[in-house]
């Protein structure tokens, strides 16, 4: 595993752990999601250097566009949650349990 591969894998894994084990706020989960997308953006950006060709160089922009849309959808849901539940604390998201 090359150092570059290790670094974006480690960044992604840290973001994933943060997203999986989010404890208090919904916003921290969204931030970890953004961190994961950022590590993937860096991976795709460095892929062009790995290929030593410009074949795949628009891929990071495509990923950035979609992850920006996703982040905005997440923030809209954060606002909607704050409006219906009063807060973004995750212990308030308990209406649907069995």
């Amino acid at each position: 595993m090359t150092p570059v591969h290790f670094s974006f894998t480690a960044a992604f894994t840290l973001g994933l752990m943060g997203l999986a084990f989010h404890r208090t706020h919904l916003l921290s989960a969204l931030i970890c999601l953004e961190g994961m997308m950022l590590s993937l953006f860096i991976a795709l950006s460095l892929w062009t250097l790995q290929l030593e060709a410009t074949a795949f160089s628009t891929a990071p922009m495509l990923l950035l566009a979609f992850s920006a849309c996703e982040a905005s959808a997440g923030l809209a849901l954060l606002v909607a949650t704050a409006r219906t539940h009063g807060t973004d604390r995750l212990q308030n998201l308990n209406l649907l349990q069995c």
Partner: protein, 349 residues
């Protein structure tokens, strides 16, 4: 919701699935999955009810995580082997991660925990779209990678899903949660067979979609979302209630109804592949789901509940929310089993 926005969202749902179907590059497949997720989020929050918003938030978090995992696994595979093609994924770390990510997308055990809560928070129509249309795109990706995934992972996920789908639905009275656990169980059956016969898994998915559509639409017709509401649904529409019994038994997989076809063919294929113990355990876990389907049949048609007289004689008005899909899917749910040889000839051989 404005009809223009609604049309745009439905169009994007179709676009996302079509993009994932048509793609051979992982980035395009990921983009199709993201479009699907983004398109269904506003559809889920059409009513700004706290339950709907909570379900949407949980759905968004799980689907976004799964999509990011898919892209991470394909990027790792590209760094390790240089391949971006979906059916050429070869590195074991990448294929295992992809399998877990697709399991999270589809709602398979052991990452199924979001599914009952999300479907519970939605109205029946959106729950139907979530259970049927949203399964198509990840399933297409699963079909393409299943030949290279570690078979032990596939078998474990499949068996665990059938077990948890049966076990988890036992203590439920809300119909949408029961249908969510039924989805988990049926997808478990599909994953069990996908490594041996992908056409059989596709046939199983198609039949599951038909059965679930008729179940959701029947519940929508009688506006029933709990078992108690089902108990008095015979007053609203006696015909649909008697058919609902048969639809539920078809979901359970009892002959001579259509639901028996996928289970029968899957068990036959497993035995042909010299795995009789796996077939035995899968059939035993189907008994668990049979229990809660049969309990629903009891409340629907086989027993009369002790309700008051006023609840038992409402005005039988013409139902306002009829769907043209309801008769078609109900008919297919009940009567497709004799066509099994023809379907086999068309699909498998």
């Amino acid at each position: 919701m404005s009809p223009y926005v609604f049309t745009l969202l439905i169009f994007n749902l179709g676009l996302g699935t079509t993009m994932t179907f048509a793609s051979s590059h992982w980035l395009l497949a990921w983009m199709g999955l993201e479009i699907n997720t983004l398109a269904i989020i506003p559809l889920m929050t059409r009513q700004h009810h706290p339950r709907a918003v909570e379900a949407t938030t949980k759905y968004f978090l799980t689907q976004a995580t799964a999509a990011a995992l898919i892209l991470f696994a394909s990027t790792s595979n590209a760094w390790l082997t240089g391949e971006w093609a979906i059916n050429q994924m070869s590195h074991p770390l990448a294929t295992s991660t992809i399998m877990l990510a697709l399991a999270l997308k589809l709602g398979l055990a052991p990452v199924h925990f979001w599914m009952p809560e999300v479907i519970q928070g939605l109205d029946l129509t959106t729950g139907l779209v979530l259970s049927t249309w949203q399964k198509l795109a990840p399933f297409a990706l699963l079909l393409q990678v299943s030949s290279t995934v570690n078979p032990l992972i596939l078998t474990l996920i499949g068996l665990l899903s059938t077990l948890i789908g049966g076990w988890g639905g036992l203590n439920q009275t809300q119909l949408r949660k029961i249908l969510a656990y039924s989805s988990i169980a049926h997808l478990g059956w599909m994953v069990l067979i996908i490594q041996f016969s992908p056409p059989l898994a596709t046939l199983s998915l198609l039949i599951y979609i038909i059965m679930t559509t008729s179940a959701f639409l029947t519940f929508k017709l009688t506006s029933s979302t709990t078992m108690n509401a089902l108990a008095t649904s015979w007053t609203k529409s006696p015909m649909m209630t008697s058919l609902a019994t048969l639809i539920l038994l078809s979901l359970a997989g009892l002959p001579p109804l259509t639901g028996f076809m996928p289970k029968w063919l899957i068990l036959q294929e497993l035995v042909k592949q010299d795995l009789p113990m796996l077939a035995f355990f899968a059939a035993m876990t189907a008994l668990l789901s049979l229990y809660f389907y049969l309990r629903l049949c009891y409340t629907v048609a086989l027993t009369s509940s002790p309700n008051t007289i006023t609840m038992l004689t409402p005005w039988r008005l013409n139902p306002t929310q009829t769907s043209p899909l309801n008769p078609l899917t109900t008919m297919l749910t009940l009567a497709l089993l004799p066509l099994t040889p023809a379907i086999l000839a068309l699909v498998i051989y």
